[in-house]
Amino acid sequence: MRQAARVEARAAYAFVAPTALLLGLFVFLPLAWAVVISFQSTDGFGQGAWIGLDNYARLLGDSRFWRASLNTLVFTVVVTPLSIGLGLAAALLLDAALPARPLFRTVLILPMAVSGVATALVGLLFFDENTGVLNSILASFGLSEPAWQSDGPWAFASVVLVTLWWRVGFNMLIYLTALQGTDPQLHESAMLDGASWVQRLRHVTIPALRPATFFLVIINVIYSFQVFDLVFVLTGGGPEDSTSVLVTYAYEQGFTQRDQGYAAAVGMVLLVATLAFTTLQWRLNRGRDGEA
């Protein structure tokens, strides 16, 4: 019996080894290395010089870093609830009896298949201040035409809009899957009790969707922390850093300015933010499970 257990364990290690090797070499090793680099001054060639906490001290007084942090935070706070809420609304719409439902579903998740760069370029086509479609549509309704490219807040709005176009389908898909897994009897008995649609939504549907919501909050926040392709191509972080986020700032410092130690320090801030958020969510979710 012990022999069999040993054979099983040996097989298990062999099965896990390829994944462990890839993750170890290309995730954990660079992660440890990133910590080391963040204490160095280095351009990426040759040995770096050890400068202790200087990179981190520099972050404190770097207004561009603070701007990028603030933008990342605002982006996350705006995009997460919007894309989850819109995803839920779309899922509720498609969950009901509807002709050609598979067609609608396909159309709604289609943007998921489009690359970030292509999405951003189509975004440029829409938001271009001279030839953009959006402003000609707005003008034809007699509305004012925002300066999507030269005015900071409008540029930020354009990034948010493009992100929503890209993301809502995914959120809808997860909710749709979850809705189809909920027990129809719950709804039936609530209806017998005379609960209105809104009451059923609040007391039956949304509680049943909690695991999906938990998953989506984490996924959407992490995505928002990491938004890169869209910003990089659509606005390049401009005008005047008004759309710059932590990740584009880290890329600029690391690969344009070649100040790689500093870029690694920016990366560490992102890592700490991600870990703090995920741990918090985990705790909150576990806490609520405890009550139930």
């Binding site: 896990v16 719409l93 298949a113 370029l121 086509l125 389908g169 990740v247």
Partner: protein, 267 residues
């Protein structure tokens, strides 16, 4: 009520599909028409001139081939390794299983950008910088498929596996003859997800590649935009070349895609 819902869904669908439709229309219109505001919702003068222009000016065929080679390699490597690991975590008992699993799962929340500088150093150190391998290997290090595979394999009854073992099949045989044939939809989903994310990947290939001969399609798109500026008709023609293959595959595969998420226990 049903009519209202259908109308609402139609409006949402039209808004979401319009950008893709507009990309196609612009790609098929002449630059002069676009600048002159003569391109309407219904395309008038259709031309394939943009495609010709882009194909002549850039090695689009090579970039296409690069994208195919890189994303197929990533998909095969990721799916094979993830399926194996997922099976072990679902059905085999070994010491350290749960800490290893949690550690692997933890990598899912790690932003690539946190490690990009160090990863760049690593591939340079390994003398992979500027090669396909620099893109393929780090991109294949993903645990998402492993997690989905484990969830799926947990649904395969233990009795079935024990029966195979009693017949004297080794773990590898059990896995390849019993488990995999039962997991075809899972394999299809994982393969497609991995293919799609690698095909569309931008940030890392941008760092890892330097010669334009080795560019993948998304990098080429940025390069082309840098050269053409706001020549949207040419850019959209190229974007269409980049986007079309995955859109077609996506429409074919999306049914499995949905099932894949359902079977992963996210309910």
């Amino acid at each position: 009520m049903k009519l209202l819902r259908t109308v609402a869904a139609s409006v949402v669908a039209l808004v979401l599909v319009f950008p893709l439709y507009w990309m196609v229309v612009v790609a098929l219109s002449s630059r002069r028409d676009l600048l002159g505001g003569r391109v309407g919702v219904l395309p008038s003068d259709l031309t394939t001139d943009n495609f010709r222009r882009v194909l002549e000016a850039f090695p689009v065929g090579t970039w296409f081939g690069n994208s195919v080679a890189v994303s197929l390699s990533v998909a095969v490597l990721t799916v094979v390794t993830n399926l194996m690991a997922g099976y072990a975590f679902a059905h085999l008992r070994f010491r350290g299983a749960s800490p290893l699993f949690v550690l692997a799962l933890g990598t899912l929340v790690l932003p690539v950008q946190v490690i990009m500088v160090a990863l760049f150093r690593l591939v340079t150190e390994l003398q992979l910088y500027g090669t396909y391998w620099a893109v393929i290997l780090p991109t294949s290090a993903s645990a998402l498929g492993m997690f989905l595979a484990r969830q799926f394999f947990l649904g395969i009854p233990r009795d079935l596996l024990d029966a195979a073992r009693l017949d004297g099949a080794g773990e590898w045989r059990t896995f390849s003859r019993i488990v995999l044939p039962n997991a075809k939809p899972l394999v299809a989903v994982l393969f497609f997800m991995s293919l799609l994310s690698s095909w569309n990947d931008f940030a890392w290939p941008l760092i890892a590649l330097k010669d334009n001969e080795l560019f993948t399609l998304p990098i080429g798109l940025l390069y082309l935009q840098g050269q053409y500026g706001p020549d949207y008709t040419a850019t959209m023609a190229y974007a269409l070349v980049n986007v079309a293959p995955m859109l077609v595959l996506f429409v074919i595969f999306q049914r499995f895609f949905v099932q894949g998420f359902t079977s992963s226990g996210l309910r």
